[in-house]
């Protein structure tokens, strides 16, 4: 056996302890490699969506790299600590510190190269699959598999450097104070837990403060709070696991009536030792899970935005022609020709809109005639509106306005023409995209409409009316690139902030929608994969803790069985031990995320009125189900290993 073989045996015969850790590294390499395959894809062009995808994936790669570095470093040093007895024996036999470092370096490099190779192999095997998803999301004609040295070089380079860094630093963390210390091993740390009362209180206090702050965030304070709450909550979480939990347990233990009761004595005593030992692990798992929840949750809330977008933009295309627009006919003909060329069915409803001043608010109002409005409503499949003479309906511009306008009742007079109107209803559907309609828009009876004969105050006759061309296109998502020259003109004007000489407005909600939807889907796709790596890593911490303690637990259970503990009681003790390990960090992370989402809702409210509650519940439930399954899997293996003795 050579020195290298020794390192090799150490890794491969310890594979059960390395399993979860190895799995997390492989998945991390795999995701990294898949991103690299996208980034270096020869068919990717300088197109908006693809640039976004490449940038997003690049950032995700950086995040993955940093995260994997920390994850591996933490796992490695915990692992080395758990093996201190083994190192003690080796040093007793005369291993020098230099040789020990070399051994650990070899071991890390073996682990690193195996997981890099496996990760790349899986990544390459599944990249066709990921390309298919990517092609669907980015709506590309094709995204073929390709072979190039670049993704391989990037991945190998990144992870080789990562594992070298890990092996160099983790070596520095082995405590080699004395061979005897090492020989006594890892579990020497089971001292009686001494939690500081003051720090436990501080832990609760900090968590409480951050929750309160998170729930009272308003849109003005949100940006300062983003800087304040996360550090508070992080520190609070740390103190909670290192001190508060123990104070609670000690409090519980002091009530002997409760404590000295059947299996509780064993399980509580065990729990307090384990909790102390795992406090840092719990802290890390909580933070990592919270970040994963928030990533997926935030991206999922983007998706709810796209769902909402369809409802508030039922029109396929909007063209508004103002006074003095000489190209009106030419533009409309151009648009219809483009639609026909693409063989898209459409319904064009022109609406002549009159502008007047309302005496009630003093603002100007856009007025649409009932007959024209109902033609559009019929085209969209909505019910018609029939305001009588002297009556009118509000036209909502968003879901929120639909609710508010429904409550308001207005008696007003159109100042210029002297038409009196009572408005006490709102049309129950959103017809017009929010930027294309005045916030004060109403539908009136055709007779009232005809009675409006004076122009808006301070404007000429032509200036106080405009024509709104509403295109209803059932397959509205297919309108990509229709009217692209008009879009370009609008964009140019927006960029230069100069709207003079632009006598029309054009909007293509279908195209916007496709863009939103695809870019959010890309971000979600990227985010879910990163979050999956995070959660796997969190899971592997727990797995690792269980396995390093397994040998010791087995001896203890053997003892308990000899003392006359039944199998059922054993199951109960295992549950009591595993449940906190699995679900304590989980519950704290869920709480953190819930409060973070409360704040996020405020941010959303500010620029798009929608509720993310549904998405959040979906995301959190999904994660919880995954965790419960993981729990049962590990519990099954754990009991099997315990009873193997």
């Amino acid at each position: 056996m050579t020195f290298r073989q020794l390192a090799y045996h150490n890794v491969f015969r310890n594979r059960r302890s390395y399993a979860a850790f190895f799995l997390a590294s492989v998945v991390s390499v795999m995701v990294f490699f898949v991103y690299s395959m996208f980034i270096f894809h020869p068919l990717f062009e300088e197109d908006g969506l693809q640039v976004l995808a490449v940038r997003g994936m690049f950032i995700a790669e950086v995040v993955l790299y940093i995260f994997t570095l920390f994850f591996l470093f933490y796992s490695m040093s915990a692992f080395l600590q758990a093996r201190s007895k083994e190192f003690g024996i080796l040093m007793h036999l005369g291993m020098t510190k230099k040789q020990l470092n070399k051994l650990i370096f070899f071991e890390t490099m073996i682990l690193g190269s195996v997981s890099t190779v496996a990760g790349i192999a899986f990544g390459f095997a599944f990249s066709k699959f990921f390309f298919m998803i990517g092609r669907e999301i980015m709506e590309l004609e094709s995204l073929p598999l390709y072979v190039s040295w670049q993704p391989f070089a990037l991945t190998i380079g990144a992870f080789a450097s990562l594992f070298i860094i890990i092996s160099v630093i983790s070596v520095a963390f082995i405590r080699t104070k004395g061979i005897l210390d090492l020989l006594q091993g890892y579990w020497k740390v089971d001292e009686i837990t001494n939690a500081s009362r003051w720090l436990s209180f501080l832990g609760f206090l900090l968590l409480g403060i951050s929750y309160v702050l998170a729930s009272v965030v308003t849109d003005e304070t949100v940006y300062t709070m983003v800087l304040i709450i996360p550090p508070l909550a992080t520190l609070g979480t740390y103190l909670f696991f290192t001190h508060s939990v123990h104070s609670l347990l000690n409090f519980y233990k002091r009530r002997k009536g409760v404590y000295w009761h059947k299996t509780r004595l064993v399980s509580l005593a065990e729990a307090s030792v384990k909790l102390k030992d795992s406090a840092q692990m719990f802290f890390i798992v909580t933070i990592v899970s919270t970040v994963a929840f928030l990533t997926v949750g935030t991206l999922a809330s983007f998706m709810s935005y796209t769902g909402d977008y369809r409802e508030s933009n039922p029109l396929g295309l909007v063209y508004i022609s103002f006074d003095g627009n000489s190209k009106e006919l030419q533009h409309i003909e151009g648009l219809t020709a483009e639609l026909e060329e693409k063989e898209l069915a459409y319904d064009l409803v022109p609406l002549v809109v009159k502008r007047q001043t309302s005496t009630f608010t003093g603002n100007d109002v856009d007025i649409i005639r009932m007959s024209e409005f109902n033609r559009l409503a019929a085209a969209l499949g909505f019910e018609p509106a029939y305001p009588d003479r002297g009556e009118a309906l509000f036209i909502p511009y968003s879901k929120e306005s639909l609710k508010e306008l429904g409550k308001s009742q207005v008696q007003t007079e159109l100042m210029e023409s002297g038409v009196e109107l009572s408005i006490d209803q709102v049309y129950p559907h959103i017809l017009f995209p929010v930027h294309t309609v005045n916030f004060n828009s109403i539908v009136v009876n055709d007779l009232d409409y005809a009675a409006i004969d004076e122009p808006l105050q301070g404007y000429a006759d032509g200036e106080s009316t405009f024509t709104y061309y509403a295109f209803d296109i059932p397959s509205w998502e297919e309108t990509v690139a229709i009217g692209s020259d008009l879009t370009a003109q609008i964009e140019r004007a927006v960029e230069q902030e100069d709207f003079s000489g632009l006598n029309f407005f054009f909007e293509n909600p279908g195209e916007d929608y496709r863009w939103f939807k695809s870019s959010f889907a890309i971000l979600l796709f990227i985010g879910v994969m990163v979050a999956a790596v995070f959660l796997l890593a969190a899971g592997s911490f727990i797995y690792f803790k269980l396995y390093t303690g397994l040998e010791r637990d087995r001896k203890q259970y053997l003892l308990l069985v000899r003392l006359g503990m039944t199998e059922k009681e054993l199951g109960r003790i295992v549950n009591r031990q595993l449940i906190p390990q699995f679900f304590l960090p989980w519950v704290v992370a869920l709480l953190h995320s819930t409060f973070a989402f409360i704040s996020l809702q405020v941010v959303w409210d500010e620029f798009a009125e929608l509720s993310i509650l549904g998405e959040m519940i979906l995301v959190l439930t999904g994660f919880t189900i995954a965790q419960v399954l993981y729990f049962y899997l590990i519990r099954w293996r754990y009991i099997a290993h315990l009873q193997a003795s």
Binding site: M1, H9, R13, E86, H92, L93, G94, M95, Q99
Partner: protein, 180 residues
């Protein structure tokens, strides 16, 4: 210090301290591995040693598959393989039954006689002590008495017991040194 340990000392422990990941054979060659001895040399030495210690049938087993006596013989083999000048043994028979203890002690005697290694052994067991050439008695951490062995182990054993009763009965530490 590490080099000194590696080349001049051999250690035997009560709880064997074999590495669980390695087979018996690998545990045996471990000290040589640390010294980068050529593989062929290691292989010949292992085979020779295994024959002497009667470990040949279990060379490819892992420590959790073998008995306590076998494990201790492996540990002794590991302590011997690099031909140390001194072997330090901490309660080598503490975890073994009387048959295995006898095997181990006979083995140690032979090693001391044939290889010329000094063995320093700490034990509670008067029988184990009776295998030694010189016995130092330590009571509660303080030196108490010392006796030298004679031709017959049985009589030496009786003398050790006599000293022990002088020491005051109960549990006593026996520190024994065997000189070649």
């Amino acid at each position: 210090m590490a080099l000194f340990r590696r080349r001049k000392l051999g250690f035997i422990f009560q709880d064997f301290n074999l590495l669980q990941m390695l087979t018996v054979e690998e545990n045996l060659v471990l000290p040589l591995t640390l010294d980068y001895v050529p593989v062929n040399d290691m292989a010949t030495r292992v085979l020779e040693l295994a024959k002497r210690l009667d470990l040949t049938p279990i060379l490819h087993k892992r420590p959790n598959e073998i008995s306590g006596g076998e494990a201790q013989r492996t540990a002794i083999g590991r302590a011997l393989i690099h031909k140390p000048a001194i072997i330090l043994a901490d309660e080598p028979t503490g975890n073994l039954d009387s048959k295995a203890s006898k095997d181990v002690l006979d083995l140690l005697s032979r090693v001391s006689a044939n290889e010329g290694a000094t063995i320093v052994m700490v034990t509670h067991d008067p029988i184990a002590a009776s295998y030694c050439d010189r016995v130092l008695f330590i009571k509660d951490g303080e030196f108490f008495n010392e006796i030298y062995g004679d031709e017959r182990r049985q009589t030496f054993y009786q003398r050790i017991l006599n000293v022990l009763s002088l020491l005051g009965g109960n549990v006593n530490d026996l520190s024994a040194t065997r000189l070649p």
